[in-house]
C-alpha cells in the first residue's frame, strides 16, 4: 500500500496527537460555573501524559461569543495564554461558530491564523475545515473547491484526517448538529480509503461511519450536552458538583501510518486538584450568573 509517508519521504512512524474541543473561554455561569477550570485541567492532564503529544488540535469554540469585540478579544488572549502552557506541542485550531460566525472569522484570523488550511504530520495529511464562518452551518463552494484541489495530489490510500467544528452529516439538524453542504464534503472524501473526521460542537462523544470514512465527535471542556435521542429539548446537562468534570475530557489519537485504524482513546481529566468541598466552593465563587445555553 502506498502511503503518504512514502510520497513525502518521511519514514513511516507511529504517531500520537491530542484533540481538545469546545473550551468556550469566557463562559461563566450556569450550567457550568467552572469557567476555564476544565480547560486548565486538560492542559495539566496533557502535560502529565507519559508520552506528551507533539501535536494538539482544537476543534472549535475556543472562545465563547461576546457582544463586545473587546471582550471577545480578551477571550482569545486568555485561550492563547492557557493553551500556551501545553509543553512542547504545536497547536492547530479551527473555529467554532462562537469564534467566527458573527464577524466572518476576522478576529479568529487576527489571533489564531487562517480558518482553513492543511498540513502534513508524520505522514498523515491533515485538513482543517471551516464550517462556521459563513454564519451558518456551511463549508461553501469556494472552500470545497480548495479542499478538492488540496486532496487531488494524494493517492486514494493516503491517510487523511479532517478536523472541523460541526458534524459533516445530519446528526441532529434541529439542534443545529449538521453542515448544510456536508454531503458535498463527504462525496469529495469518499474516494479516499483512509479518512478520519474529528469534530466537536456537540459536547459529547459520537461515532458515525459513512462508507470507509470514520467520524468522531469529541467531548467538550465545559458543559456537556445530553443524548438527543432521549432529550426532547436542546439543553446542556446539569452541573454535578460532586463530579464537576463529568462527561468532559480530552482525546488521544494513536496511529501508525502503515495502515490499520486509528486508535481513539478518551482521556479523563485530572480532578485531584479540585477534590474536596473547600476547593469546589472556591471554584464556584468565580461564576457570575449569565445563563447561556450554547
Amino acid at each position: 500500500m502506498r502511503s503518504l509517508a512514502e510520497l513525502n519521504g518521511e519514514a513511516p512512524a507511529p504517531f500520537s496527537f491530542v484533540q481538545l474541543s469546545d473550551t468556550h473561554v469566557g463562559f461563566n455561569g450556569p450550567p457550568d460555573p467552572l469557567g476555564t477550570k476544565a480547560f486548565e485541567s486538560a492542559v495539566a492532564t496533557i502535560n502529565g501524559l507519559k508520552n506528551p503529544p507533539e501535536l494538539v488540535i482544537v476543534t472549535g469554540d475556543l472562545t465563547h461569543d461576546a457582544d463586545s469585540p473587546d471582550e471577545h478579544a480578551k477571550r482569545f488572549k486568555l485561550f492563547k495564554q492557557i493553551s500556551s502552557k501545553i509543553g512542547g506541542a504545536q497547536i492547530k485550531v479551527v473555529p467554532g461558530e462562537n469564534d467566527a460566525a458573527l464577524d466572518g472569522g476576522d478576529m479568529f484570523r487576527e489571533f489564531m491564523g487562517p480558518t482553513r488550511y492543511s498540513f502534513d504530520y508524520r505522514g498523515v495529511h491533515f485538513i482543517a475545515l471551516d464550517n462556521v464562518s459563513a454564519g451558518r452551518p456551511a463549508v461553501g463552494a469556494e472552500q470545497l473547491r480548495w479542499m478538492k484541489s488540496d486532496l487531488a495530489r494524494f493517492p486514494k490510500t493516503a491517510p487523511i484526517i479532517v478536523f472541523t467544528h460541526r458534524p459533516l452529516f445530519d446528526l441532529k439538524p434541529e439542534w443545529e448538529w449538521f453542515t448544510s453542504d456536508g454531503d458535498e464534503v463527504m462525496n469529495a472524501l469518499a474516494p479516499y480509503e483512509n479518512v478520519t473526521v474529528l469534530y466537536g460542537h456537540i459536547h459529547r462523544e459520537n461515532f458515525h461511519q459513512a462508507g470507509s470514512t470514520k467520524m468522531y465527535a469529541a467531548r467538550s471542556l465545559i458543559f456537556a450536552f445530553p443524548d438527543p435521542a432521549t432529550t426532547p429539548v436542546k439543553k446542556p446537562a446539569p452541573f454535578d458538583k460532586a463530579a464537576p468534570f463529568k462527561n468532559l475530557g480530552i482525546r488521544r489519537v494513536n496511529g501508525n501510518v502503515d495502515g490499520g485504524d486509528l486508535q481513539i482513546e478518551e482521556v479523563e481529566l485530572a480532578t485531584a486538584e479540585f477534590g474536596g468541598t473547600v476547593g469546589m466552593d472556591q471554584m464556584l465563587k468565580h461564576g457570575n450568573n449569565d445563563s447561556k445555553d450554547e
Binding site: 461558530e97 451558518r136 449538521f178 436542546k234 445555553d293 450554547e294
Partner: protein, 129 residues
C-alpha cells in the same frame, strides 16, 4: 380542486387576507381561483433569540405562506422535515411557502448565527390531519 365549492373558496380568500379585493366583488370570477392559489398567511416575527409565536399548527397537505419578519438582524429559518431553509433579512419580510406532508411536531431553528443565545432560537410547528 375543480369540485371546490363556493363557500370553501370564499373561506380561503378570507383566510388569505391578501387577495385582490376585486375578486370579492366579482363572484363570477371566483370560480377561476383555486384555494391553493391563496394560502393562509401566518406572520412570524424573529428577533434575538426567539420567534413569535413560538408555536403554530398547520394542516397536512394544506399550503400556507409563512410571512417571516426580522426586526434586529439577519436570522435563519430552517427545518429539514418541513423542507424550509431560508434567511430572514434584517428589517425585511420574507415569504415562505409550505405544504406539510407529514403529521407531527417539528422544530424550526435559526441557523444563521446571531449571538450567544442563538442555540436556543427555535419554534415548534405542529402538523395535524
Amino acid at each position: 380542486m375543480k369540485t371546490t365549492t363556493m363557500s370553501k373558496i370564499v373561506t380561503a380568500i378570507l383566510l388569505a387576507g391578501i387577495c385582490d379585493v376585486g375578486l370579492m366583488l366579482v363572484p363570477s370570477m371566483v370560480g377561476l381561483t383555486r384555494a391553493s392559489d391563496h394560502p393562509k398567511v401566518i406572520e412570524i416575527a424573529a428577533k434575538q433569540f426567539e420567534f413569535t409565536p413560538s408555536q403554530i399548527t398547520l394542516k397536512k397537505g394544506v399550503p400556507v405562506i409563512l410571512r417571516l419578519h426580522s426586526s434586529d438582524r439577519v436570522h435563519g429559518f430552517m427545518s429539514k422535515p418541513l423542507k424550509i431553509d431560508t434567511d430572514i433579512p434584517n428589517n425585511a419580510t420574507k415569504d415562505v411557502n409550505v405544504t406539510p406532508d407529514t403529521v407531527g411536531d417539528f422544530v424550526v431553528i435559526c441557523d444563521r448565527y446571531c449571538g450567544s443565545g442563538h442555540g436556543s432560537m427555535r419554534m415548534k410547528v405542529t402538523v395535524v390531519e
